[in-house]
Symmetry: C2
Subunit: 369 residues, 2 copies
């Protein structure tokens, strides 16, 4: 068996372990939810289906890193519990983000809010005055479901962290890490909304900070640091991993915005002008705003009715004013910083852990979607 | 010093201890929030002010019950931590409830969403297209603050429960209790919204269930059971307290709706027709709906423009159709059931704990607001 086949086999094995843990967490809750009626347990059923259909990027990173520290790790089941909890946290953030953004769809399928809305619209008329509810009562009901389910997933994440049977100081380190992650992610979400609502000035620096907080912290730093903590390694290793994770995470997030605007829609499959249409404050826009090209771009920015031809014009102007090169340069800079951390011989990151990270970076660097 | 003066002194001492614990929890978080910018730390500042201005009903119940179990309790600081955490949980629920209901005011003062909205409205115009944001961008920003701050308070509650340094099985009992409480409260909130949105049929049984879940569980059952758990008493005592707490909580919630409609507005200080105007599905309405009077009441129910004279007519009809007597009977029944639990000599509740509960019931029975 080749090395690559081995990696694939190990990862699919890991995926099954994570899926099993998540299935357990969700089905226990889904079953106790039935006592509270069909509307309540429906929340767990829809959320469970969406969570189990995910790619488990964060839990896989945690367990692969943990395993790389110590192949014969004593407490792998705890690592798998925490990994699954991080996937619940991810979904809790997505749900509240969807409610905040008023989104009904994620990756081309109805999200939880969209699913609840569709079901509420199909309900038979009730034995009461039709005007007793609000005019938008089905949407209100669906969005309430999104808020409440996000709360329950946030609670479930904390429960998993709180229940680990580890020595008190180690448990506290994990809880500190969770607290730090939630603070940064929430701060990032608030910045993002403040930028979109015109409450916070769209400075480049602010946008870069927001990108790091909103996604990089919980997607990269959290799984890496949790793995280091659970493997019981020196805090200096954890700290080096955190730095590497933040660089990689920021590169990843900038690349996301970059591909949305300049990428090939046949490959990423998204509407190529959605960021422009919704007036999203990205690093690309922050750069362009400082150039003389902005006067021509501005009238088209944030227009929901932007047509393909105008969209292509704006994209060309964004490229010509230097924004494309600028953001690509930033992505390269973060990627280099990531590799520098790994290559630093003073860094005590073991080779096997380094390989997990390099493997992840290679996947991200090669992606077109 | 009289016995009553002693009680008052003890309670004011307890209030200070709880206030001190909450101040510590909030100021630590408020200080670390500053690193993420003024908008983020503003959330903690406003929430902190509101939380510290509260009456600490739930934490007081917990610590008074705990002290009544054992005056020389070993681990009183843990009881105070958990008591403070329950106050954070209460505020997290209020916040998400306010966002869901679109409320900007609570007890006559702007709530967190209202405060953020007022501040956003006073912001100087920014260096960007005025139409880049949504038309309702200040409200969107303020409600996002409500969702995110509720998330952080929910996280802070769990952190306090998770960090207690107790033997593993005791910690797990506390975590089970928190999980049970959150499930019931969220189920109650969802029922309440479903009733209001016309998604769930307004049956009397459903409304009574909702009242118990939404408030009684976390306000009465949680503090009582947490006190019993922390005092290390037998599960049978905890179970008796839970039953007593649920009866008292349901009586309390029904009394709340009763006073809103039939109480003296000069004493409760609220708009006497707000429940009717917003079409709130209460036990009063559920009873009236089954009577012949409903045909006359229905056209006025849920009308925001209901005038005082029509409001008084509806109130008289609700009284004459038997709804007033019916709900008062339900309150009496729950109060009797509460006293029966306490009086049951087979019940192992110690006298001092019984007195804490009787004292609380006397406060609730005598209230007019």
């Amino acid at each position: 068996m080749t090395l690559m086949a081995n990696v694939v086999r190990t990862r699919s094995h890991l995926c099954s372990a994570i899926e099993g843990e998540l299935t357990g967490l969700i089905s226990t809750r889904s079953n106790s939810a039935r006592a509270y009626g069909p509307e309540f347990s429906r929340l767990w059923d829809i959320a469970g289906e969406n969570i189990l259909g995910g790619k488990f990027v964060r839990p896989l990173l945690l367990v692969e890193t943990y395993d790389a520290f110590d192949e014969h790790a004593r407490d792998r089941s705890t690592a798998i519990s925490i990994a699954a909890a991080i996937e619940l946290l991810h979904y809790a953030f997505l749900l509240h983000d969807d409610v905040i953004d008023g989104d009904l769809v994620r990756r081309g399928r109805p999200n939880l809010v969209g699913a609840l809305l569709a079901e509420a619209g199909q309900l038979p008329p009730m034995d009461q005055r039709p005007d007793a509810g609000r005019p938008d009562s089905a949407l209100h009901w669906a969005q309430t479901g999104g808020i409440l389910m996000g709360d329950m997933l946030l609670a479930a994440t904390h429960q998993a962290f709180a229940r680990v049977d580890l020595p008190h100081p180690l448990r506290i380190r994990l809880l500190d890490l969770l607290e730090h992650t939630i603070n940064e992610t929430v701060a990032g979400e608030q910045l993002d909304v403040g930028l979109g609502d015109g409450i916070i000035a769209p400075e480049l620096e602010t946008i870069l900070t927001m990108c790091g907080y909103k996604t990089a912290t919980y997607t990269f730093e959290l799984p890496l640091r949790a793995a280091a903590t659970l493997a019981g390694v020196d805090p200096s290793v954890e700290s080096a991993l955190a730095t590497a994770g933040r660089h990689l995470g920021l590169a990843f997030q900038l690349q996301d915005d970059f591909l949305s605007t300049f990428g090939d829609p046949r490959r990423h499959g998204k509407d190529p002008f959605s960021d422009l249409r919704e007036g999203k404050q990205t690093a690309i826009i922050a750069y362009a705003r400082k150039t003389s090209a902005w006067a021509e771009i501005e009238p088209w920015f944030g227009r929901p009715d932007l047509c393909t031809q105008d969209g292509e014009n704006v994209r060309r102007q964004l490229s010509e004013c230097g924004a494309e090169t600028f953001v690509q340069g930033h992505i390269d800079q973060q990627t280099r910083a990531f590799h520098d951390v790994l290559a630093d011989t003073a860094n005590p990151i073991p080779d096997k852990v380094r390989n997990v990270l390099l493997d992840l970076a290679a996947q991200l660097e090669g992606r077109q979607s």
